[in-house]
């Protein structure tokens, strides 16, 4: 399980960070920490387009997205 902290980054940087991570290791499970709802939607959509499953958990004001 690897953690990607994309909190506070402007669009589309969070998705590009996940894209790079998946390029390096597609079989790895990732936890993406995000701070904005639109980032969550973009991460979920991108992960699904790559054949990944996602689940979202709210942690305080942040979001924790599991991509596997």
């Amino acid at each position: 399980m690897k953690e990607l902290d994309v909190r506070g980054l402007s669009c589309p940087e969070p998705v590009l960070i996940l894209q790079d991570a998946l390029k390096k290791d597609k079989s790895e499970k990732y936890t993406v920490l995000a701070s904005e709802a639109h980032v969550v939607k973009n991460i979920e959509h991108f992960a699904c387009s790559q054949g990944k499953k996602t689940s979202v958990k709210e942690v305080g004001l942040d979001y924790e997205i599991t991509v596997e």
């Binding site: 506070g8 980054l9 589309p12 940087e13 998705v15 959509h45 991108f46 004001l61």
Partner: protein, 364 residues
């Protein structure tokens, strides 16, 4: 709500936003400027006497509506997050650049779409520059460009801009004599304020839900082959095209009303707007929406656009509109003067400097 995250759902939201825009054109907003973020911020700056261009002074309720609409919906959907700290001063000046270059083209990306849907060929030259600018920004994003992280701040920071714009708008209604109102020109053309504020609020809600962004739509296609945001823009284009065809407003001409056919400058100015919007993470409309959802960095960008709009007219950077020859008047070619031309070139150089700056990694 999942539906609105699909291509069909986003197309639907775009169609609703397009209908709102057509309604404003029908009710009196300038026909191919029914909804233009750059022009409306410029008119608002004029109404508050930050510049003295008499034909473009009117406090546009649509701007207030977008900021407050996205503010309300983000509170309601619990998506409101107060953040700040991602290169705010650089963002301010990028806001200034984005506004000035938009006013050299004579419109923001939204108005470019409206002009395109009315058959204005000069706007298609703008589109070429806009796409090239976005592609340049996307290249730097791919290389790791970032203006840095924003951090969570006290929630009241994000309340400031929505509350202030509503307070000033209330003052416009209560004591209009404090403000300037154009008697002729585009500033004198407007829908009744209640319609403007309602459509503005609706537009703010739709733009927040759909993540509508004119630069983002093309950027996501280039970087991620993702056509979702493009569907929203497609919806607006289709509706306005239909409106123009029905009302006999579609005319394939070198330049439409309040536009110019100095196409080198149309391309270069929109190149700067597209490049700048990608570096900022969103077009002028998206900046208003993000400012409403609590981003102080976007609020600073909006203030940069406001100051930039006044600057554009005080320093003669905004382009003039072209006009065809009539019985009384000779033809006017319009376009930017020397000040505007220098500003666009310097802006492009500055954008490259900012893009290289953004490649530097942050030290933790």
């Amino acid at each position: 709500m999942r539906f609105f995250n699909t291509k069909k759902g986003l197309l639907t939201l775009g169609i609703i936003a397009g209908l709102g825009t057509a309604l404003l054109a029908y009710l009196g907003n300038p026909k191919n400027m029914a909804f233009c973020i750059a022009c409306f911020i410029r008119d608002t700056a004029g109404a508050m006497k930050f510049h003295n261009a008499e034909v473009v002074q009117y406090f546009r309720p649509e701007i207030v509506g977008i900021i407050f609409g996205s503010f309300l919906i983000s509170l309601f959907s619990k998506e409101y997050r107060s953040t700040a700290g991602s290169s705010p001063v650089i963002r301010f000046f990028l806001g200034v650049i984005m506004m000035n270059c938009a006013l050299v083209f004579l419109g923001c990306p939204l108005r470019m779409i409206l002009r395109m849907s009315a058959g204005d060929i000069s706007s298609y030259f703008g589109l070429v520059g806009f796409i090239a600018g976005i592609a340049t920004g996307a290249f730097f994003l791919r290389k790791g460009f970032s203006l840095g992280k924003a951090y969570t701040v006290k929630k009241e920071n994000g309340y400031a801009l929505p509350i202030v714009v509503v307070a000033i708008f209330s003052l416009v209604i209560a004591v209009p004599s404090l403000f300037a109102f154009s008697e002729k020109g585009p500033g004198s053309m407007h829908a009744i304020w209640i319609a403007s504020i309602v459509v503005g609020l609706l537009f703010g809600v739709i733009a927040q839900r759909s993540r509508m962004c004119f630069a983002g739509s093309i950027r996501d296609i280039i970087l991620l082959k993702d056509f979702r945001i493009f569907s929203v823009i497609g919806g607006i284009f289709i509706v306005i095209l239909a409106y123009n065809l029905i009302t006999n407003n579609f005319k394939l001409v070198a330049f439409g009303p309040i536009a110019h056919a100095q196409n080198v400058w149309n391309i270069l100015s929109m190149y700067a707007v597209g490049f700048c919007a990608v570096l900022l993470g969103g077009c002028p409309l998206r900046q208003l929406v993000l400012a409403g959802t609590g981003s102080s960095d976007s609020a600073i960008t909006v203030l940069g656009m406001f100051v930039g709009a006044a600057f554009a007219h005080n320093f003669k950077i905004a382009a003039g509109a072209a006009a065809a020859k009539t019985a009384e008047k000779a033809a006017v070619s319009g376009g930017p003067g020397i000040n505007g031309q220098i500003f666009v070139i310097v802006s492009i150089v500055v954008l490259f400097i900012v893009a290289f700056y953004g490649l530097k990694k942050e030290k933790n």
